[in-house]
Amino acid sequence: MVAGTRPDRNCDTPLLAAYCRAIALERRSAAELGAGDDKALARWERATKAMVALSMRLRLSPQARAPNNPSRPSRPEPVTNYYDRMRLEEADSDGTDRG
């Protein structure tokens, strides 16, 4: 998602960070709920709601990814910069993230 984002779209970062936190909260709440903490149910529900809302806004949900969504005009996928891709692959193989 990061590699495929235009440089002028850094405004998505807070939304993406919130989405990651919502996932973490959902996982923790689910584990607590599994351990018998009934109060975790409300937290789990709120986290799930936030996850769904943010995934829709970030177009990460299955519905938003659907190719035949008639509400959006079809546009060719932007090509990921190959040098960026090489750097990411290199960082990945090194097990480090150099940004």
Binding site: P78, V79, T80, N81, Y82, Y83, M86, R87
Partner: protein
């Protein structure tokens, strides 16, 4: 610089890419009309320029990034210099190691195909079995 048969094939495909591009964007003139005869120095010059454009498009390069055919690999690496950046030289060397021409118009696809061939596996979409060919 001597051109191999692989280079000439890549340049021919680059010219075809240019023709297709010009057809889809008629307001942009990429190729001279008439085209110089194939194989002449003038044709090589035009084809090399088009190969660079095709590479920039297929690799999704930014204006300040060098295409593999315009990279200088003379041992001097300078990350502040067009055509001498380490990542640019790395890609050019990768192409040469994989036996791909530096004029290859569709670099990502060629790398993918070469790496697949190197790994010894074949894509299910490009099977050469007679049964699959009949079905397709």
């Amino acid at each position: 610089m001597g051109l191999t048969e692989v280079d000439l094939d890549a340049l021919r495909r680059a010219v075809e890419w240019g023709k297709r591009y010009q057809k889809s964007e008629p307001q942009i003139t990429l190729l001279p009309s008439p085209l110089p005869p194939e194989g002449t120095p003038q044709w090589v010059e035009v084809a090399t320029r088009i190969a660079g454009m095709a590479q920039a498009a297929t690799l999704g390069l930014r204006p300040w990034q060098a295409e593999p055919c315009n990279v200088l690999d003379d041992g001097v690496i300078d990350d502040a210099c067009y055509g001498r950046r380490s990542i640019e030289v790395m890609l050019r060397r990768k192409l040469i190691v994989l036996g791909i021409s530096i004029f290859e118009p569709d670099v990502p696809r060629a790398i993918e195909a070469a790496e697949r061939a190197k790994a010894g596996c074949q894509s299910p979409y490009r099977s050469h079995s007679p049964r699959m060919s009949r079905e397709l």
